[in-house]
């Protein structure tokens, strides 16, 4: 039980929160990385998945990208990116461990790895969301003389929105939690508190870091569900 008390002591000491390398800074860094990775993944994944769903083709691809994506360990991906300079173009500086502004050491590698990690849930959910729009709705829209583009923007997309949003929400929480892995390659974020505590056998510190990560995950989940409810049209399901 002593570790629990140690963790509490670590959390309640303000010196651990403020200053360079303090938990507040690391928290902000990890939030920035999470949001950047999510926005990039959505910018790449959503158009592809929505288009495939609209065309009604490539379902096999969309679903299997998700399954294969799960099989690639994010740790391995991150490790490869940190070590990578596949064609020697960037003289070992990208993605590598180079510091990227507020993203910290190995920031670029971390963002790219997390972006790839976020793609599968976003793509699968968006694809399924468009495919599950009832075919009668699509037929009715076409019967009213809508063009393919109009069917997509006025009928399919509004109906698909809730499921697309839940895919983004899922990805947000998963990316946040997974971002801690960056610490395993001495990267940015709160994971560093956890690994630091761990390697110095200061388990209280490690647990303190874990608690902060889990709490912020909960806050993110709640915030996302509030936003999701706000953008879901009334009566469009849950």
């Amino acid at each position: 039980m002593r570790v629990i008390l140690d963790a509490w002591a670590y959390l309640t000491s303000s010196a651990n929160w403020t200053g360079t390398g303090g938990m507040l800074q690391l928290l902000g860094q990890q939030l920035l990385i999470t949001l950047t990775a999510l926005v990039l993944a959505a910018a790449i994944g959503l158009p592809i998945a929505l288009w495939l769903g609209h065309r009604g083709r490539g379902g096999f691809l969309a679903i299997n990208v998700s399954n294969v994506g799960r099989a690639v360990p994010t740790f391995a991906l991150l490790a490869l990116l940190v070590t990578a300079d596949p064609w020697g173009w960037t003289l070992d500086s990208f993605p590598g461990t180079a510091t990227l502004g507020p993203y910290g050491r190995g920031g670029a590698a971390t963002v790219v790895a997390l972006m790839l990690f976020a793609l599968p849930p976003i793509i699968t959910n968006a694809y399924v969301a468009v495919r599950e729009v009832p075919s009668e709705v699509r037929a009715a829209a076409e019967g009213m003389g809508m063009s393919g583009r109009q069917v997509f923007w006025r009928a399919e997309l509004p109906l698909a929105r809730p499921l697309v949003a839940s895919g983004l929400r899922l990805a947000l929480v998963q990316v946040w939690a997974t971002a801690t892995i960056a610490a395993l390659v001495a990267g940015p974020g709160l994971g560093r508190v956890i690994t630091d505590g761990f390697f110095r056998t200061d388990y209280g510190k490690g647990i303190a870091g874990a608690v902060v990560v889990a709490l912020v995950a909960l806050v993110l989940e709640l915030t996302a569900s509030i936003i999701q409810r706000a953008v879901t049209p009334v009566g469009a399901g849950t």
Binding site: R70, G206, A210
Partner: protein, 234 residues
């Protein structure tokens, strides 16, 4: 002297510091036993974690089914657990289980559990009520009903959950390198720290291959376990 001469004639191997190639078959041959050890550890940890997950998930699912009020709590805890990152879970367990494979197995088992409880619940729920009633009608008691009727019919849904759990457990096992029991993750970790590209890429590729092989094994065993589903499709 002979050693030196040999090294000179062979030239730098593709995994030497100088070349540090990504793909290097010589590395795989020279370090075969090390790679096999890591792979074996990876498989053992994955299988043990899945077994732990299955053994705990089944009674939990039965309990949640019996007491609907508990179902919300069980699913809530399962979802909450998923927000705890894996590298945070291991330090949480270490004070109790030490730097041992047990730590990794329990941690990963808990993640697998969250997927498997859901799969068991959905699988049992998918059994048609008429089937249950006719089994009762021909005199099946609750235990026999569960084992002979409900469980076999739940196999497809449970197996779907097991596939997801297996693939993600194989991937997550690498994080066990934090407590030096990460199977192939240990090689990945060493590869990053020493900038050893062949080791890093070989281990990463093996992880993906292992996930695919286990996935295929589950699909095949499901076909053997549920011969009746094959007839329908053919």
């Amino acid at each position: 002297m002979t050693l030196l001469a040999q090294a000179a004639t062979a030239g730098p191997s593709c995994y030497s510091r100088l070349t540090n190639d990504w793909f290097c078959w010589a590395y795989v041959e020279d370090r075969r036993s090390q790679i096999l050890d890591a792979l074996t550890q990876h498989v053992l940890i994955t299988v043990a974690a899945l077994a732990f997950g299955l053994v705990v998930a089944f009674p939990l699912a039965l309990l949640a089914r019996r007491l609907p009020r508990l179902e919300g709590a069980v699913l809530g805890v399962a979802t909450g657990l998923y927000t705890v990152p894996s590298i945070a879970l291991f330090p949480l367990l270490v004070p109790f289980t030490g730097l041992s494979p047990t730590t990794v197995v329990i941690g990963l088992g808990l993640y697998a559990l969250t997927i498997l409880v859901r799969a068991f619940l959905e699988g049992l729920r998918a059994v048609p009520e008429e089937v249950r009633e006719s089994a009762r009608g021909i005199g099946y008691g609750p235990g026999k009903l569960l084992l002979r009727v409900e469980l076999p019919l739940a196999v497809p849904v449970v197996m779907a959950g097991l596939r997801v759990a297996t693939v993600s457990t194989v991937a997550l096992t690498t994080v066990g390198s934090l407590v030096s029991y990460g199977g192939l993750g240990n090689l990945i970790s060493d590869g990053v720290q020493t900038n050893f590209r062949a080791e890093l890429l070989t281990a990463a590729v093996l992880c993906v291959v292992l996930a695919i092989v286990l996935d295929v094994l589950i699909v095949v065993s499901q076909r053997l376990l549920t011969p009746w589903t094959r007839g329908v499709r053919a």
